[in-house]
């Protein structure tokens, strides 16, 4: 009965959550230049055509973000768990990427970026369900008037964001969740947490977008969102057997380092690609993605050396990731020096979050998703409001006033925390009621690789 209900839930998410509108034509995203009928002599301006350089850059950026997810995140997380759970982590990341890819093109894109009418402050519409009406000639607007990119490119790029956000969450409760339950949870959370927050922050008419909240590449939408959901998952599912008593050493730190490196390289697509064009704005985001990361790696290293006497490789890699997270909302908005300061702050603060804070609160966030992504994202979100200031080297925005902007940023952070947390809690509880979240004690001790997937990572 539980399995039937679970299958129904997944199908409901896929097909029953929204009403289909196959007959509706897709609302054009790009602004079309209309010819006037009163002046026959005037010629209509041609519709903007995507620039090949911009299109190439966006496809490359999409590719880079996929690199972040499938090998990058998989290996980063995989190396941190015990050997008996390596394949489970790889499978979960891969599986979630595949699942969200499909859900995105079925209903995710239209709900995230469509015009939701009276509900547009929260969510889009269903006009582009199944990408209805979209062709190779369809275009999507960029931040520059009259500059467009192919809409398919925009769809693909944003698809990767949705996928990586959902995949990040698994680190919070690695080594103890049922695979099937995780997939169902992922579909639900993507639908009811990721899509509304993405719409509110990034879509015209979205509540936070209209308030002026700044989030260049996803500090709130991706990192705070995922970090909070991971923490909620860790609390709902409970601690691993033996947590706090047995050592649970990372089984392959070289893999983690390879994963972290792939994350850094891929993040250039994540941040610079969020500019949607190959311009100076992308170049700024590109440079910020280097210097913030470097600063955070150094500051984490220094803090760890002072605290513990030694700077660990895991610390350097984690510091780099913390810097990447912190610069994500700021990448195209702050100057390089502002990015460095964000990185310098993120390093030690996230180190404290994954050690002191975690130990004092006692939660088992297996792979420190909250400490790095949520905390780092908050630093970046608030910091964006400060360092966007032209006086501090930022690009500036119309009507900018630092105090007001920081309050707006904080509002965005708070709304994301509450929405993500509440939705995650409900989704976890729902899935738990229907099909259970946690594997049996025997399976957990045996290891998820053999218990869930019937194979071992290492046959030596």
């Amino acid at each position: 009965m539980k399995k039937v209900l679970a299958s129904f839930m997944l199908l409901a998410v896929l097909f029953g959550a929204v009403s289909p509108s196959f007959a509706e034509e897709a609302a054009p995203v790009a602004e079309a230049v209309m010819a006037t009928t009163e002046a026959p002599a005037a010629e209509a301006a041609p519709a903007p055509v995507p620039d090949k350089g911009d299109t190439t850059w966006m496809m490359l950026s999409t590719l880079l973000v996929i690199l972040m997810i499938v090998p990058g995140l998989s290996l980063f997380y995989g190396g941190l768990v015990r050997a008996k759970n390596m394949l489970s982590v790889l499978s979960q990341v891969f599986g979630i990427f595949a699942l969200i890819s499909i859900l995105w093109v079925v209903y995710g894109y239209t709900l995230a970026f469509g015009d939701g009418g009276s509900m547009n402050w929260l969510i889009g519409d269903t006009s582009k369900l199944f990408l209805a009406g979209m062709t190779g000639d369809s275009t999507a607007a960029t931040f520059s008037d009259g500059v467009v990119i192919p809409e398919f490119t925009f769809v693909a790029f944003q698809l990767t964001f949705a996928a990586i956000t959902t995949a990040l969450i698994i680190g919070g409760f690695a080594e103890r969740i049922k695979f099937g339950s995780l997939m169902v949870f992922s579909a639900l959370w993507f639908t009811f947490a990721y899509l509304p927050i993405a719409h509110m922050v990034w879509a015209t008419g979205g509540y936070l977008f209209e308030k002026g909240a700044l989030d260049f590449a996803g500090g709130t939408v991706v990192h705070i969102n995922a970090g909070i959901a991971a923490l909620v998952g860790a609390l709902v599912i409970g601690k691993r057997i033996g947590y706090g008593k047995e050592p649970m050493a990372p089984h392959n730190l070289p893999m983690t380092m390879i994963g972290a490196s792939l994350l850094w390289v891929g993040w250039f697509g994540f941040n610079a690609g969020s500019n949607l064009e190959a311009t100076g704005g992308a170049a700024l985001a590109f440079l910020n993605t280097i210097v913030a990361t470097a600063a955070a790696a150094l500051s984490w290293m220094a803090a760890e050396k002072m605290m513990r006497g030694k700077a660990s490789m895991l610390g350097i890699a984690s510091g780099a990731v913390a810097g990447l997270v912190a610069v994500t909302p700021a990448a195209g908005l702050v100057g390089p020096m502002g990015a460095i300061i964000l990185g310098l702050i993120a390093g030690p603060v996230c180190l404290w979050a994954v050690s002191g804070l975690k130990k004092s609160l006692g939660y088992d966030d297996s792979l420190d998703v909250f400490g790095i992504h949520a905390v780092g994202g908050i630093i970046g979100a608030i910091g964006t409001g400060i360092f966007v200031s032209p006086a501090l080297g930022g690009v500036g925005i119309d009507g900018y006033e630092m105090g007001a902007q920081v309050i707006t940023q904080a509002t965005g952070v708070l709304i994301t925390i509450v929405w993500s947390g509440v939705v995650a809690f409900i989704c976890f509880k729902l899935v738990d009621m229907v099909m259970g979240l946690r594997v049996s004690e025997e399976d957990e001790r045996e290891g998820l690789d053999t218990a869930t997937h019937g194979e071992r990572a290492y046959n030596v």
């Binding site: 050592p247 649970m248 088992d364 792979l367």
Partner: protein, 91 residues
């Protein structure tokens, strides 16, 4: 030196008493203190006797006997520090 020999004789005497009383073995205490190979053999017997007291006495004889090489202490690596590093934390 004289003090150490006195100590050695005392230890050898205690080994003699325990071996005689509990294991029906008689040893030559003086010979044990002056002959290296005989001392090694007695220590070997004391160690194999499955008595904590004889084991302790044998170790003390090894430490003070002028003709026997001083026992080397093997430092057992302490894994506890490394193990505690990964309890409730990845770092």
């Amino acid at each position: 030196m004289a003090g150490e020999m006195e100590k050695l004789f005392a230890l050898a005497g205690r080994i003699h008493v325990l071996l005689r009383r509990e294991h029906n073995r008689i040893i030559d205490v003086e010979w044990m203190c002056t002959d290296e190979s005989y001392a090694k053999e007695v220590i070997k017997i004391a160690r194999s006797a499955e008595s904590e007291e004889l084991l302790a006495l044998a170790e003390r004889v090894e430490a003070v006997h002028p003709l026997l090489p001083k026992p080397q202490r093997i430092e057992v690596p302490i894994p506890a520090k490394t193990e505690a590093k990964y309890v409730a934390s990845l770092r």
